[in-house]
Subunit: 200 residues, 2 copies
Amino acid sequence: MSFSPLINELIDALRCLPGVGPKSAQRMAMHLLERDRKGASRLSVVLQDAVEGVGRCEQCRTLCETPTCSICSNSARLRNQICVVETPSDVMAIEQAGGYRGLYFVLMGHLSPIDGIGPAEIGLDQLTRRLDEESFEEVILATNPTVEGEATAHYIANQVQRRGIQVSRIAHGVPLGGELEFVDGGTLAHAFRGRTLVGN
Amino acid sequence: MSFSPLINELIDALRCLPGVGPKSAQRMAMHLLERDRKGASRLSVVLQDAVEGVGRCEQCRTLCETPTCSICSNSARLRNQICVVETPSDVMAIEQAGGYRGLYFVLMGHLSPIDGIGPAEIGLDQLTRRLDEESFEEVILATNPTVEGEATAHYIANQVQRRGIQVSRIAHGVPLGGELEFVDGGTLAHAFRGRTLVGN
Ligand SMILES: [Zn+2]
Ligand SMILES: [Zn+2]
């Protein structure tokens, strides 16, 4: 015994959302069909628009729907600093904390050899090309303070130092094992100010 | 500072889902765009199909995409018992518990005068018409054991008794204040067996 085919399919399709199990998917499907069909239609349209329209910034790899994102194309940003983060949400968290005026580079993940994610998969060839071609004076490593984030930061630090460019790591004012995007703005701003030079 | 317009719109549209706040909506949007665009496209299509295709059963009011649902159109179901529930999920819960072979009537809610939800809004005119026209011997009230569910059951019991039809209420093996669809099958089946006649 189950719901009618279309409803079952909707429940199943909702499970592509992170953290949504069978029971919440059923609750969501019922809510949308019983009480918010307008919201469901809008979500349908926006989902498809986003899937078709959102790509990656050619310069920093963040998600955006224009060739170059609003930060990379902002002439007021400092061009001698680049901050390396794991995700677009990390860029947002740092921007909301305020205080940083340089550029970003978004890995869209971290090194994870077990999952087949090596330097190329997180765009490090593109990052080193930029380091060679542009005139950065400092690379700020703001990957998450997790085992993988630290390993990724360590790997990038080596690549940067080999080019004689200064590398720094944001201070660990955030709890180890935590995720950058969930840290409050004050702590993040503090971590930026307290960054330490790597290997000097 | 925020994400690009399309991404912001996606985050906002995801908030039509129950229990999804700004942070989870952001996490969902990032997950879909970074790691599951196929799932997002499928969800978009299925959402629209469901919004356009799913209506209500002409006989029991449950959500389905055919004029009459699979239970109402099943000739093996007993036509002398009708079980009144608040939602389609309650029908599923009772069916999964097993043991009940009669029909259903789905209120799609409960009486709530404060919110302007009176007898007409939960289809009670349709229910009483069926009581007059068909030959039911028993109406089983399986609304939730909440204040509103009890009040709704009480109201319906009066309507049924006035017609000389037997009314029963499922036994409260479920915790008061709980919701029917989250009760385990064993408890629900027990509650069905232990139902008591109303007002006799
Ligand atoms: Zn960019
Ligand atoms: Zn039906």
